[in-house]
């Protein structure tokens, strides 16, 4: 009887409340670094300067009091020469004056550089040729792969093209790192993903593998956005398991 009463209580039949996920939040304190202490002073001074423009012209240099002080001359490592030498150098206007106003490191006469245009063009051609060679190689390997696996070339191309459209390549990745994410998928007949497994998943949480993690996450996002994948109507047994190798190196190189 007691058991029956307890079971008939309303809280026993109520559906569980959908509580928001409890996620630990890391609390960080920020020091007050924003304010540049002397800046308001500088602004005030600037305003004063605007009012008294005529006087400003004759006023002193940037670093207020200390700038007026004559600092000790820095001893140079090969400073065996007497002061006379140094005075001579200061008095040499040809060396100093043009350089004072020059903010560029390129001397004007050097700006016009007309040499080796042909060589440049040749170099550009060479680079292009090398690039083309590389891309050709890739295509060939894809074709080989296609024959070996059982998907026809057009089936593989359709799948690849679909994923190209879904994959936002993280452009911030380093282009010279060897980043390759291999994902094994188990598919349903309609192309929806039953299971996805990152084959090198242990790299995801290793220190120093942030880029790999970012790349893997982007690849998984692409697959979720893309599904159902464009799979052939026949031959389910062949493609029910499939491995996708995400490699952005070429794209990142530009």
């Amino acid at each position: 009887m007691i058991l029956l009463t307890v079971l008939s209580l309303p809280f026993m039949v109520r559906e569980p409340v959908d509580l928001p996920p409890i996620v630990s939040v890391e609390l960080i304190r920020i020091s007050d670094k924003t304010n540049i202490p002397f800046a308001p002073k500088a602004r005030k001074v600037i305003e004063e300067v605007k009012k008294e423009e005529k006087r400003v012209v004759s006023e002193q240099a940037p670093p207020s009091a200390k700038a007026k002080e004559k600092p000790d001359r820095i001893p140079m490592p090969d400073d065996k020469k007497e002061k006379k030498d140094l005075v001579k150098k200061k008095q040499n206007p040809q060396e100093i004056k043009p350089q004072i106003r020059q903010s560029s490191e390129f001397e004007k006469k050097e700006i016009i550089d007309t040499n080796q245009i042909a060589a440049l063009i040749d170099k550009a051609k060479e680079e292009k040729a090398v690039q083309e060679k590389t891309s050709n190689k890739l295509t060939q390997s894809s074709v080989k792969n296609s024959f070996a696996t059982g998907l026809t070339l057009s089936e593989e191309d359709a799948l690849r093209a679909q994923i190209f459209g879904c994959w936002s390549v993280p452009l911030g990745l380093p282009y010279d790192d060897n980043l390759l994410v291999r994902i094994k998928l188990q598919l349903k007949k309609d192309g929806t993903i039953m299971k996805s497994e990152i084959l090198d998943h242990e790299r995801m949480n290793k220190p120093g593998q942030k880029f790999y993690k970012v790349l893997a996450e982007s690849a998984l996002r692409a697959l979720r956005i893309c599904q159902p994948l464009k799979v052939p109507l026949t031959g389910f047994e062949k493609w029910k398991e499939i491995q996708l190798n995400f490699n952005p190196t070429e794209m990142l190189k530009g």
């Binding site: 540049i36 940037p62 001359r73």
Partner: protein
């Protein structure tokens, strides 16, 4: 015997299975920036009202800065808020992922703001909408006037989580503010946040200032100023405002720059009509000569590990870039292309050297590997130079002069940024004309 047959059979079957696995290489994707929804941060109704910072609008203002930062990277596409489907406070508790996916967002940022007892607490969460899970959750406390920095720090944290590399938003840029005609140019030292906000002028413009450079280790700046045509190297502490003259060198000095540990200044120094590279220990003021050559050696820049120095020299006849060990030994020329190379700056990541190249009267900003290979010219113009790296080595800031008048008379100098892919060139808004920018390290580490 039967067992052996079975094992052989199973092994054969397994190998067969392995061979049958279809592999497809995905080597291309779209270059579209990642669509991100930045929900306005929810302001807790129990917050104290501070008019100075507009408490009620604080959530929207913070999210607007985050959005602007993201957009400036070229890596993210913040979506229009009109299309948002959930209120900020509810989305922050638990987003309806399927609804957010409808507007094609792939990541969502939500947050909450509370001001109590003159303390600002900002909490934010980053959600992966395709996986329906949270990626990051952080909270910050600070003084309310620091709210802009909080927005930049949030941007940095999200950027790091989504790209794998440190952000560069909680940083400053120091530059030379310019005004007046070219022959009577007034140059002041100015500093601003990386997004162009909070501009402050640090000098009055009575004297010529050149080449301000941040210390990569702290908020110290070194720059050159001329007093009665004599160059002086100054040190300026941005936090305290204290300035000091570190060198009154008996000759011409150029391009002072800090070593990676911030303990030395490296610069070129002209003596007897010849320019060589020197270092000076900031504490002891001891000067050491690094190069000894009859040619003009200038623009030295350390590698981030401090072991190497890149610089430009005309020792081969034309101005080219060289790399040597930090003691001056083992000098190697790394550029052999046509044209002139200058202003080499080693990336904080150590992988690349940025440079200015001049060819046929046109100026290029480019990058190459530290051995000189893989040269890539990122941008080309009538006149531009002085690249400076963002602290994460992803973006370069430089200045560009363009003719301003319709007939080509007059000119303006402005700051521009470009990332190392060359995809994302942007003009940085400054109050005046600007040149010689230098990017600080992250304020919050």
């Amino acid at each position: 015997m039967k067992k052996i047959y079975l094992i052989i059979l199973l092994t054969f079957f397994k190998i067969n299975l392995v061979h049958s696995l279809i592999e497809v290489d995905i080597t291309r994707g779209n270059l579209d920036p990642l669509p991100v929804a930045v929900s306005p941060l929810h302001v807790d109704p129990q917050s104290d009202i501070i008019n100075e910072i507009k408490t009620k609008e604080l959530g929207e203002n913070i999210s607007a800065i985050v959005e602007k930062n993201f957009k400036s990277t070229g890596l993210f596409n913040p979506l229009q808020k009109d299309s948002f489907v959930q209120k900020p406070d509810i989305a922050h508790l638990k987003p309806r992922f399927e609804d957010w996916r409808l507007i094609k967002a792939q990541a969502l940022i939500t947050g909450k703001v509370l001001i109590k007892d003159n303390k600002l607490k900002v909490e934010f969460r980053l959600w992966d909408l395709t996986a329906s899970k949270e990626m990051l959750a952080l909270a910050f406390t600070t003084t309310p006037t620091n709210w802009r920095r909080v927005a930049h720090i949030i941007s940095d944290k999200i950027y790091e989580r989504l790209t794998g590399e440190k952000g560069y938003f909680d940083t400053r840029i120091i530059y030379v503010s310019e005004s007046g005609p070219k022959d009577k140019r007034i140059k002041k030292l100015a500093i601003m946040d990386q997004d162009g906000a909070n501009t402050k002028y640090l000098t009055l413009g009575n004297e010529l200032v050149l080449t301000p450079r941040f210390n990569p280790a702290n908020q110290l700046v070194t720059y050159l100023s001329y007093f009665r045509n004599l160059p002086r190297v100054y040190l300026l502490d941005i936090e305290t405002g204290v300035q000091e003259v570190v060198g009154n060198f008996p000759g011409m000095t150029f391009a002072p720059r800090f070593s990676p540990d911030g303990k030395k200044i490296i610069m070129s120094f002209a003596k007897d009509g010849n320019s060589d590279i020197y270092t000076m220990d900031i504490e002891s003021r001891l000067v050491e000569k690094i190069t000894e050559h009859s040619s003009i050696d200038t623009s030295p820049s350390y590698s981030p590990d401090g072991k190497y120095i890149c610089f430009n020299s005309d020792r081969s006849g034309l101005q080219q870039i060289y790399v040597m060990k930090s003691d001056g030994s083992d000098v190697k020329r790394i550029t052999f292309g046509d044209g002139l190379y200058g202003t080499p700056v080693w990336s904080p990541r150590g992988d690349l050297i940025a440079f200015t190249k001049v060819r046929k009267g046109r100026f290029y900003i480019g990058v190459m590997r530290a051995d000189g290979s893989g040269e890539r010219l990122l941008t080309e113009n009538y006149y531009q130079e002085a690249p400076s790296w963002s602290p994460n080595g992803r973006v370069l800031i430089f200045y560009r002069e363009t003719k301003s008048g319709p007939k080509g008379e007059g000119f303006t100098a402005k700051l521009w940024s470009i990332d190392i892919t060359g995809y994302n060139e942007r003009k940085i808004t400054t109050e005046t004309d600007a040149s010689d920018p230098s990017w600080s390290s992250l304020l919050s580490k």
